[in-house]
């Protein structure tokens, strides 16, 4: 793709994202299913409150979710040199899920306490994965981190299973299950604003280092020979990616596939160079999550958990990309 075509594609994605965000303000189930005529806003105070206090913070949260997970996915795939890595794999998602479940079952908490517990345990998941990886006695650093992440995720997953088992089936279990499936239902300005600084700072840091990602995707010896401080730069990127993921998961619960499928899509559309793929993934991720969340709150009279939709659309999209001809998906699986 030439630089002119890339710029055109990027501007196209920016316009698409902003257009979708504008449209999404008028999509919902009030005053009638699917569409609210814009002029309703002029004379209906309830519609004004609905758009400003419910839809707008939720649209922003959905965009932040998609952008953060897609950016984290792209970055982690590149620094771990593995296109199948996703943002939650270092114990972050399952740790956050366990933290939220624990606060719901043990403390009977909701809202900010659940969010704080999720963020705390998400970070704990990373710390434990990192500590375990340091003590694994074989394999390179990447393999050790991946193995440790799998083990810690399974541990937290077992913990969530126990909590589900002991949760009150009438009061706690529905909230817990809903949280595990991931959703932006009931997201307020307070929640959106609480994650805005961390996610914005992380996104800016990741975008500023987007070209360096290419260096970190090379062999360690080659990256070193190019003057790269591989360990330090990887740590900075890892911390930023995990911080963004933990912040988002603390509000939305576990939303899968965005961080896996969107980076693949961005690379196949715009090229593998992090300089192009990362901004593309951020915009595509924002648009993808926004569309999924708008469908989640509009399609049925009751809310569809966002995680179900991203998994459904993501799995279908992923399967399609995998069977596409090589020319259309050159990064794809080979013989």
């Amino acid at each position: 793709m030439t630089i002119q075509n890339y710029r055109r594609a990027l501007w196209g994605l920016i316009v698409l994202l902003l257009g979708l965000a504008g449209l999404s303000l008028f999509v919902g189930r009030y005053p009638s299913p699917i569409w609210m005529p814009p002029q309703t806003l002029l004379h209906d105070p309830l519609a004004q409150r609905l758009v400003l206090n419910l839809r707008l913070p939720r649209i922003l949260a959905a965009m932040l979710l998609g952008m953060s997970l897609a950016a984290s996915g792209t970055v982690l795939q590149m620094i771990f040199r593995n296109p199948l890595v996703e943002p939650g794999f270092l114990g972050v998602s399952h740790g956050a899920a366990f933290g939220a479940a624990l606060s719901i079952v043990a403390l009977g908490a909701s809202g900010l306490v659940t969010q704080a517990a999720a963020a705390l345990f998400g970070c704990l998941g990373l710390v434990l994965s990192y500590a375990l990886a340091r003590h694994i006695r074989y394999g390179g650093w990447t393999l050790r981190l991946v193995l440790a992440g799998i083990a810690i995720s399974a541990l937290f997953s077992a913990g969530v299973g126990v909590l589900k088992y002991v949760a009150d089936p009438l009061t706690q279990l529905p909230e817990l299950v809903f949280w595990m499936l991931g959703a932006l239902w009931g997201v307020t300005w307070q929640e959106t604003l609480s994650i805005l600084p961390v996610t914005t700072a992380a996104l800016v840091a990741l975008l500023l280092m987007r070209w360096r990602l290419n260096l970190l995707a090379l062999d360690d010896a080659t990256a070193f020979s190019l003057g790269t401080a591989t360990a330090r730069e990887r740590t900075v990127l890892l911390v930023a990616a995990v911080a963004a993921t933990a912040a988002i998961v603390s509000v939305s619960g576990v939303v899968g596939w965005v961080g896996l499928i969107v980076p693949q899509l961005a690379r196949s559309l715009l090229g593998a160079d992090g300089q192009r793929a990362l901004p593309g993934a951020v915009l595509i991720g924002g648009a993808f999550a926004l569309v999924c969340d708008t469908v989640a709150r509009t399609a049925l009279s009751s809310e569809i958990p966002l995680g179900i939709l991203t998994s459904l659309i993501g799995a279908l999209g992923f399967s399609t990309l995998m069977v596409m001809p090589q020319q259309l998906a050159p990064w794809g699986l080979k013989d």
Binding site: L215, D219, A221, F224, L226, G227, G271, D273, W331
Partner: protein
């Protein structure tokens, strides 16, 4: 002529392993020439290149680069001075050839700086040097082994290095591609770049000016090609009888 690289009394073993790779290794790589480092598998050739670059640190001994201790160089400064072409570099993402070669400009770019048009020009020039400019837009995973090796050398040339280290540069190449790479190495040395390459194939060293023979972490012999490339030295290096014969004015190994 003073050496570009001088290793003196190097002792090195990998972390936690009792087996010592180098006990008391000393060798010199003269400036502006080609030095071949020849030895059987496991002789410590790749480890030697990683020690020169600073990827590995010796337990004791000194490494001088251009008469300055290696540890006095900042990492980016080393990146501007030495280019490395690793033995078998896995590139998991499908960069275009030019995007990949452009990574060679990293030592010249501060942490948050993107490559400038000038960097693209230098990368393109490096591609021209290896004769691969027509492939600048091709995805790297579609290249053949030989083309890929040339592109990796171009990436190292984009660093505009004074020293080029090549680790088994022709191990995966067929005869014609081997010839292309060796011709290129000769041309670079003639332009003043100090080239050192490792190999376990004695006949590949014909292109070199100097030869270092290594076996089990020791330097068995080092010096000008015509002095060191002898049946006796090579037999000792490989532990098998080796005959060096003259064929069409070139010395080749017969086993």
């Amino acid at each position: 002529m003073h050496p570009m690289i001088a290793l003196s009394e190097i002792r090195f073993s990998y972390n936690g392993r009792e087996h010592t790779v180098f006990e008391n290794l000393s060798l010199e790589i003269p400036a502006g020439s080609i030095t071949a480092i020849l030895g059987p598998n496991g002789a410590g050739k790749s480890t030697l290149l990683h020690l020169i670059l600073g990827i590995l640190t010796p337990a004791s001994g000194s490494i001088l680069l251009g008469q300055r201790p290696r540890q006095h160089y900042a990492r980016r400064e080393l990146g501007q001075m030495i280019g490395l072409v690793a033995q078998d570099e896995a590139i998991p993402f499908n960069f275009t050839v030019l995007e990949y070669v452009l990574l060679g400009r990293a030592p010249y770019l501060p942490l948050l700086r993107m490559p400038r048009p000038e960097d693209s020009r230098i990368a393109y020039r490096a591609l021209t040097t290896v004769g691969m400019e027509a492939m600048s837009g091709r995805p790297i995973q579609t290249l053949s082994g030989g083309e890929r090796q040339l592109v990796m050398i171009a990436r190292a040339l984009a660093q505009q290095p004074r020293v080029l280290l090549l680790d088994e540069p022709t191990s995966h190449l067929d005869l014609s591609n081997k010839g292309r790479v060796l011709q290129l190495v000769r041309r670079l040395a003639d332009d003043g770049v100090t080239v050192a390459f490792t190999t376990h194939e004695p006949n590949l060293t014909a292109v070199a000016d100097y030869l270092v023979l290594m076996r089990r972490g020791q330097t068995l012999a080092a010096g000008p090609m015509d002095v060191v490339f002898t049946s006796g030295n090579l037999s000792q290096t490989y532990d098998v009888p080796v005959t060096v014969a003259q064929v069409d004015g070139r010395r080749v190994v017969l086993t």
